[in-house]
């Protein structure tokens, strides 16, 4: 493995782990409230996989950082501005359609990204990706199925899915934004330059949305600011109030 700036690697790992942490949290909010029992099970399962991935990503991030922090420390004791997830995953669930569309847009990226990361020069990352890839492949199969089913369902379900896509699409671009951290990872063979994944993504997403009879909205404005922490949405702070409550209110406990 080529030499790489430790802080950049740490930032990269935060991006991976914060994505799964925050999305896993959002998905877990559905618990007991989904449209049908099979979906309660599937959503809990997705959240569970994402939290499991978080433990691996943030666990490794803590090691790389070298300040003795555990995955839990990173998850529960940072404030919003230190989170590095893309904005897409912190958006509120909205209706079931918006949740599943967000899941699909993320799963498509994640399955591609993890595929590449299996070939990472960093063995730890390759190992995490190998495990997470299997889950991601299952997730994207499931969420694309739901997007197709609801997009090509009734008029109402079609309209709701189109509205979800319209709302979420401006947040997709951030997953492919490259900065110096990405370039350093790419140079060291640790991770692909996200910009290079876009074609593969567009092909996958295009095929599914096509089958779902949904149209990618016009306009190419991209909302960014999550993966570099420059400007999260207002939603993240509220999410953290809940997520971090116990660790904040009772610091220093074992649970």
């Amino acid at each position: 493995m080529a030499e790489v700036d430790k802080d950049k690697l740490y930032q990269f790992l935060l991006r991976m782990g914060d994505n799964t942490l925050i999305l896993g949290h959002r998905v877990s909010e559905w618990c007991g409230h989904s449209p049908v029992l099979e979906e309660d099970i599937a959503l809990a399962n997705t959240a569970l996989d994402l939290i499991g991935q978080t433990q691996m990503w943030l666990g490794y991030a803590g090691e790389v950082q070298g300040e003795g922090k555990s995955a839990d420390d990173l998850a529960f004791l940072r404030d919003a501005w230190d989170f590095r997830n893309v904005l897409l995953v912190e958006l509120p669930n909205g209706d079931f359609g918006r949740t599943m569309m967000r899941q699909f847009l993320y799963d498509a990226w994640s399955s591609i990204m993890l595929g590449h990361l299996q070939k990472s020069t960093d063995e730890r990352i390759a190992a995490i990706a190998a495990k997470a890839s299997k889950e991601a492949a299952y997730h994207v199969e499931r969420s694309s199925g739901t997007v197709v089913g609801l997009g090509d369902g009734t008029e109402e379900s079609h309209n709701r899915m189109q509205a979800a896509l319209d709302y979420l699409w401006p947040y997709v671009g951030e997953m492919f934004a490259s900065d110096e951290i990405d370039l350093a990872m790419a140079a060291a063979g640790i991770a692909p330059d996200p910009a290079n994944l876009r074609d593969e993504y567009d092909a996958l997403v295009g095929r599914v949305l096509d089958e779902a009879t949904l149209a990618i909205p016009a306009g190419n404005y991209v909302h960014k600011g999550g993966r570099d922490g420059r400007m999260h949405t207002e939603h993240l702070g509220h999410l953290l109030c809940e997520m971090q409550w116990l660790q904040r209110a009772y610091p220093g406990c074992e649970w």
């Binding site: 949290h25 029992l37 079931f96 074992e254």
Partner: protein, 311 residues
Amino acid sequence: SPEEQHFQDKIDNDVKIEPKDWMPEDYRRTLIRQIGQHAHSEVVGQLPEGNWITRAPTLERKAILLAKVQDEAGHGLYLYSAAETLGVSRDELIELLHEGKMKYSSIFNYPTLNWADIGAVGWLVDGAAIINQVALQRTSYGPYSRAMIRICKEESFHARQGYSAIMKMAFGTPEQKKMAQDAVNRLWFPALMMFGPSDKDSVHSEQSMAWKIKVKTNDELRQQFVDQTVPQIDYLGLERPDPTIKWNEERGHYDFAMPDWDEFFNVIKGNGPCNADRMENRRKAWEDGAWVREGLLEHARKKAARKVAAE
């Protein structure tokens, strides 16, 4: 009638009744009620635990809780399937629940108020459920019995995890220990209520015992729960939630106080601390999800039609 005689003979000889077998209407009705309530309990039971998923204090605790809630939804599925073998659909049962015509376990009408409640739910509530369910593995209706066997395995895992979670609390900081005590104090009597009224007040018991829909009496099961749980409370160093609990050498069991049955019947009637919220939540989930169920159904129809057209 000879049918009835044959049916009761099978029961008496521990031969399982299967869906296609003849069975008395009352047996069917009683089973639908019992299995349906059991299924609803698994589904509604997601809510008090779900209440803490977003506040789980560590990633591991969050994962454990998610896995548990997922299992419970799965148990709901098995049980609705078992009920369906008796000729009632899942949607019909859900409708009856939402109209207030079917019940679910009264325990889920109590709130989860601190993190130790999550441990206590696993330990006490799932612990009580298992005692019921282990007995029900020998129930006379085949599909129900098989569902119970499957469910029991997972539940005992949950109960162990719950105990280990509350152990962390009981042996933790003073605040954590206080949470554990608070949880046990609040959930003890509701857990005792899970076995139903005393045998002398139990409406359905006698016939259910004869049909082996029930296998042990409410009071037998409750005693078993108390005997198993009191030493655990002591081990945790917590105060017993009922000061009258005392080992009775002669009986070889713990004596204990009965829960407040007025409260129990009030909860059953809909006056529990959370009845209104639980049902509001479930109804809203169902109504909000109507477009999803319809959309997916319509898609399946379209797909089938396209397949037919292509053939």
